[in-house]
Subunit: 240 residues, 2 copies
DNA sequence: CCCAGTCTTGACCGGCGGGTCAAGACGTGG
DNA sequence: CCACGTCTTGACCCGCCGGTCAAGACTGGG
């Protein structure tokens, strides 16, 4: 996951962080980060004790506070790294030449797939967490996805492919669908291969947005992310 | 809210509950319930201390445990009551004579409206809460809504009004949309009169489900809940 | 008036868990 | 070998908060 650089971007402020780390130091820090990620994913932030993290990482409790300001800081760093990865993935999946509605679909499919494949890493900011204390940490990142989506939606409306509704509302619907279905998948309430769920979510969103049957059909038909040909029927889509 | 009966239904088990309550007793209990509801709504379950609840109700801490097993029990009782009300509202809103797709729309609109109007009461099982401890309490209730919806969807598929996809997945999409938009509204990210949000959500869901433009148009056109004439055009919507 | 059951109080308990700290170990350069 | 910065340890501290309890107050029936 996060390269040391990526980590440094996130973990600034008035913490013990600005220190220079030796090779060993970086490894230790990463071990703690990994352990925290696994535990947060498994039982959630509130249910994870610092003592659990350090035990899992095989170090003493004090060391945790050598590398991190506090529990929240680890969470923030983890979130930053994962969010960054997700955006990369989306960027890779979206074909700038495609129509707006198709671009939305590509982004949606990539997101669902990403979340499904990295469920452990992703789950701790599930549904942008309802914990009041964490919401503030998550909010800005979520905002970015929203405005990205809204931009595509706006373009789609101008092109007549998308319903003439408030673009922000529609964008909310899109990111909501992604979050919701991913959540259900992660919590085992939907038992489907990621690929199929991603495809379904793509179709769902396209229909919700499309100005009419034709626009929908057109967006469904043209290729999914990374140019993999995907037939409009359900089924048989497998990707990595 | 909850009639004493409704309350009794929920609060059984091996608690201090089976006791017979005097008139005064019922009032006290209700006061605690009200205070708890307000506080849960305002800051969430985890952030609400028992001490805060009793202070708000103007009673001593011990009294809380005279009427309730523990903190969770209050939550459960509150949730049961609200959920019950929501179902009543849905039942009132849905016209059994309407087409399946219209019925879904009516249910969706009624739900969004209900949640918007009772935001305080409702918010504490926001997004069916991600807190692992509470999920188990919420799960069964949520399941009911899901299967209700799925039944309508199934009917709609058979009637050719709804896409031939997995009914359960579609139902998930429907309740997800309701939960998501309500959540955004409640947390102030969508600043719209409830009625407009309800209408929007209805349109969104109908489009996502509809088999084709015609089915969608037909479901959008026919009256909303309680026969209130509602024009299909959208009104000036702005989002916070 | 007394008794018994209902109700009410607030001091107290216990443990949990985030965060601190003084004491080193280790490694590197002088 | 020393000095110094980095790293590591685990015992300890302390506030918080859910839950308990012994001691009453209030009320209605006999």
């Amino acid at each position: 996951m996060a390269a040391p650089n990526g980590a440094k971007d996130v973990a600034n402020g008035a913490g013990p962080a600005p220190r220079e780390l030796t090779r060993q130091g970086q490894e230790r820090k990463q071990a703690i980060l990994d352990a925290a990620g696994a535990l947060f994913a498994e039982r959630g932030y509130a249910e994870t004790r610092v003592i659990d993290i350090v035990r899992a990482a095989g170090v003493a409790k004090g060391l945790f506070y050598w590398y991190f300001e506090n529990k929240e800081a680890v969470f923030a760093e983890l979130v930053g790294a994962v969010r960054h990865q997700l955006r990369l993935e989306q960027g890779r999946a979206i074909d700038p030449g495609a129509t707006a509605l198709s671009r939305v679909r590509q982004g949606v499919e990539a997101s669902v797939r990403f979340m499904g494949e990295h469920r452990r890493l992703y789950s701790f900011f599930d549904m942008e967490s309802l914990d009041p204390r964490l919401m503030n940490l998550l909010r800005p990142g979520a905002e970015v996805h929203l405005t990205d989506t809204a931009a595509h939606v706006r373009a789609g409306i101008e092109a007549g492919q998308i319903q003439d509704e408030d673009p922000l509302l529609l964008a909310h619907g899109v990111v909501g669908a992604v979050a919701w279905f991913s959540h259900l998948h992660r919590t085992g309430r939907i038992d489907l291969p990621v690929g199929e769920l991603a495809d379904f979510t793509g179709r769902f969103v396209v229909r919700a947005l499309a100005a009419d049957d034709e626009a929908a059909a057109q967006a469904q038909a043209c290729g999914g992310d990374r140019g993999v040909a995907r037939v409009q029927g359900r089924s048989a889509a497998r990707v990595g």
